[in-house]
């Protein structure tokens, strides 16, 4: 997962409505646009647009169809974002702490 992809996921989750959708999916495993609309003060069209943003960021996907109903679920690869963020943050702090060490230690 590239920094761009991680950035896209972070941007997608910076929005409170989209975090609400992800949290609903964590609880319920899968959901539909009408079910989400019932829990949010926004239109079906707006809910569908948020799901599309989450899909584009790689966080959700359409579940295999059962009848006419379109269900969404979290994409298993969503976990990669967590590990990619952690690896990036670890290596950034290794660099910063090495520079901090150099900055505070007196030359001998």
């Amino acid at each position: 997962m590239t920094p761009d992809e991680v950035g896209r996921v972070f941007a997608a989750l910076a929005d409170p409505t989209r975090r609400h959708v992800v949290e609903a999916l964590l609880r319920e495993r899968s959901t539909t646009v009408p079910a989400l609309t019932a829990t949010l003060p926004i239109t079906r069209q707006a809910v569908a647009k948020h799901l599309s943003t989450l899909d584009h960021a790689g966080l959700v996907e359409r579940a295999p169809a059962s009848g006419r109903e379109v269900r969404y679920r979290l994409r298993p690869g969503a976990l990669d974002v967590a590990t990619a963020w952690m690896r990036g943050a670890e290596s950034a702090w290794d660099g910063r702490l090495a520079r901090l060490k150099q900055a505070v230690e007196k030359p001998r």
Partner: protein, 99 residues
């Protein structure tokens, strides 16, 4: 899901504090990012400092420093986390699915 890193330095906790808790000190080692603001939340000199990194495009991350005396001088432990970002929940969910 926080990330924790640490380093031991040959300097006193007070010297480390000056480098992490002041703008002038941070300029010596922390990369400049114009889109990101440091908002200091907890100041417990010289042992504990918490700041938030805030940017327009990403959820805020919380950075906590602990500075303790060590044989060589001081040990610096830093922990960064993303409280608004359900990393841990995502990880727990998929760990449950995959096991």
């Amino acid at each position: 899901m926080p990330v924790t890193r640490e380093v031991e330095v040959e300097a006193t906790p007070e010297e480390v504090w000056e480098a992490i808790a002041t703008d002038e000190g941070r300029e010596r080692w922390l990369e400049q990012d114009p889109g990101r603001d440091v908002r200091v939340e907890v100041v417990d000199e010289p042992h504990r400092l918490v700041w938030w990194w805030e940017s327009d495009e990403q959820p805020a991350t919380r950075v906590e420093f602990l500075v303790v005396a060590a044989p060589a001088g001081a040990r610096v432990v830093v922990t960064e986390s993303v409280p608004a970002f359900p990393l841990a929940a995502l990880a727990a969910c998929f760990a449950g699915v995959l096991v």
